[in-house]
Amino acid sequence: MLEAPADRKGFYQILTRKIGILILVVSFIPLVLTAGILCYRFHKAYSEKVRAHISELVLKHTQNIDAFLLEKLGNIRYLARQFSAGSRASADSFLASRLAELKDEYGDVFTDLGLVDESGAQFAYQGPFRLENADYSRATWFLKSKESPFYISDVFAGLRGHPHFIVAVKVASQGQTYILRSTINFTAFNSLVENIQIGKTGVAFIVNAQGEFQTHARPGTRIHITPSMVDREIFRDKSTVIIKKPDTLGNPYIYGISLFKNIDWRMVFCQDFNDALRDLWKAELLTLVVFILGCFAILFVSFTLPRNIVKLIAEADRKNEAMNRQVVESGKLATIGELAAGIAHEINNPVAIMVEEAGWMGDLLEDETQASTGTVKEFNRAIEQIKTQGRRCKDITHKLLSFARKSDATVADIRINDTIREIVSLTAQMAKYNNIAIQTTLMPELPYIRFSPAELQQVILNLINNAIDAMGKEGGTIHIHTRISPGDSRYILIDFQDNGPGIPGHYLDRIFDPFFTTKAVGKGTGLGLSICYGIIRKMGGKIEVESRVGQGTRFYIHLPVDPDNTEIKPLNNEGDRS
């Protein structure tokens, strides 16, 4: 197989690059678009879902706590209605019995109960602290609860020194105004909120209007709530708002904030933004991995596939080129044949005349008596030479004409073995004279072939003559072997093997070219093998040569079996040797 010429190589490189780029473009663009759009959409949808989930959560807990506070307020208000003014002792016993009932009913929610008079002094008290006669006249909750029928205070340390908040209800009895207050167990209240936990960082707490914590924030939390975040204004008509804000270290946090109905507090749920979207990130990471693997696959394909495709194309091109060369070769052969025939026709007559003229000169010379014998001799020699060379010309033109002639191409069903036997017997005498033995191994029962008998004879004769010429006087053996082609049963294979000097490698390509000869000038026209080649190709066959210098030459001829006459006839003398 020949290497592709340089310009073809360039073309193949460009083709490889183009196919590669095309594959990259048509694969990458949809992949990137699909992955991008899907990721974006999914991200958006998932974020919305997370927000909705947080809103929902915050709202639900807000309602729960609202209900809790409302219930506690209701309890105290109920107590307040039952209360009637009396002595401190009767008030104390009232508070004691009610506190016991409340503890029975609600557990440890209510820490104590107290009754404060208009001046802010604790008139009666029941609870774990010793707060009788405590003065609340300057306490914020006291001032506020005087202005409205009931009040729930912010969380504060107060007199007892640890955080709590107070539910206060105004009571009017016998012209006197009292305030019934109860401290709500901060731990119980706190657990309502503290139990809300989502993910690693999701926490919930309650802040007042100033953003101060009303419940315990988880220790170590870096969340800082500014009043602007919990300003009533930002809620407008909505019950919850979602805010995204970085914490003190700059990590983005998502906040879900909701207003309470009964108190000016806000429920806040906050979570690290990345934590909230952790599942999303997981999905996106997976997508990214698949995407990158896909990219590698595309890159790999876009590098290897074009190479393979172009390799196939190059292969096809080479085959095509080889075929073209063959077509050109046979065309050349035909053209040369016609040209040769034309020249031969034209040259033959002048040569004939020249030979005749030389003959005439010879005739005349015989009568010449005046000339010296030496001159006559020399003339005779010259004339003889002209005749010899004329005959050479004649031989050449005749061979050329037989090369070109289209005659005798009428095909018939032939048994190849018969033809070979015939030619072998014709050449046996000449072979013997050259100390050459011709052996045949003829496979019996070979199918018929359709071939021109005269042309087949010419081919066989040519090959035998070539072998005889090649081996020269030293002698040798020619072996002719016929059989069904081992590779393809539609062909008969004939091989001619001699043990002559062989053909040097650099001649092998050219031996079927017209006028190519290695014989001495005047000994061969160089047409024999090209005639054989032409005939065999024309009949749909194939001729190949194999030669080793010093070992001999082997010609293989593949001839197609007659497809209409595949009947196999046995031969009389099978596998004979002559």
Binding site: N349, A352, E356, G359, W360, T397, K399
Partner: protein
């Protein structure tokens, strides 16, 4: 032996004539098929015609056919310049005595001419004999 050579190559015919004359023959030469037929019509004693196959105008085979039609006893030797053995074979089928390739060996040519002439004479003798027999038969 009267011979007629037909070839469009004048130079060839001239030299061939000369050489044959030197060998004691007296060949006539014409340069085309038509002329050959005219010549034969005028010279009825002609024994052998040597006819080139490839000629302009009436070619060798046509001339041969015509000769055999008009002068069946005249023997014809085909002279072919090219190796188309076919046309030579075709000529023999049409009744030619033999064929030769150009350039031809002079002695071989003379040999063939004599052979052809002999056959013609043989034919003529047989015809004569037959006629004699016929005449004799009538007499009887």
């Amino acid at each position: 032996m009267k011979t007629l050579f037909v070839d469009d190559e004048k130079a060839f015919l001239e030299i061939l004539t000369k050489r044959l004359e030197k060998r004691g023959l007296s060949p006539s030469a014409v340069y085309g098929g038509e002329e050959a037929l005219n010549f034969l019509a005028e010279n009825t004693k002609t024994d052998v015609v040597v006819l080139d196959v490839k000629m302009p105008g009436m070619d060798g085979l046509e001339t041969l056919t015509e000769i055999k039609r008009q002068f069946p006893l005249v023997e014809v030797i085909m002279l072919t310049g090219h190796a188309t053995v076919d046309s030579a074979i075709e000529g023999m089928k049409l009744g030619a005595f033999d064929y030769m390739m150009k350039p031809c060996d002079l002695d071989l040519l003379i040999e063939k001419l004599e052979g052809a002439a002999a056959r013609k004479k043989d034919h003529e003798d047989k015809i004569m004999e037959a006629r004699l027999k016929e005449i004799a038969g009538h007499r009887v």
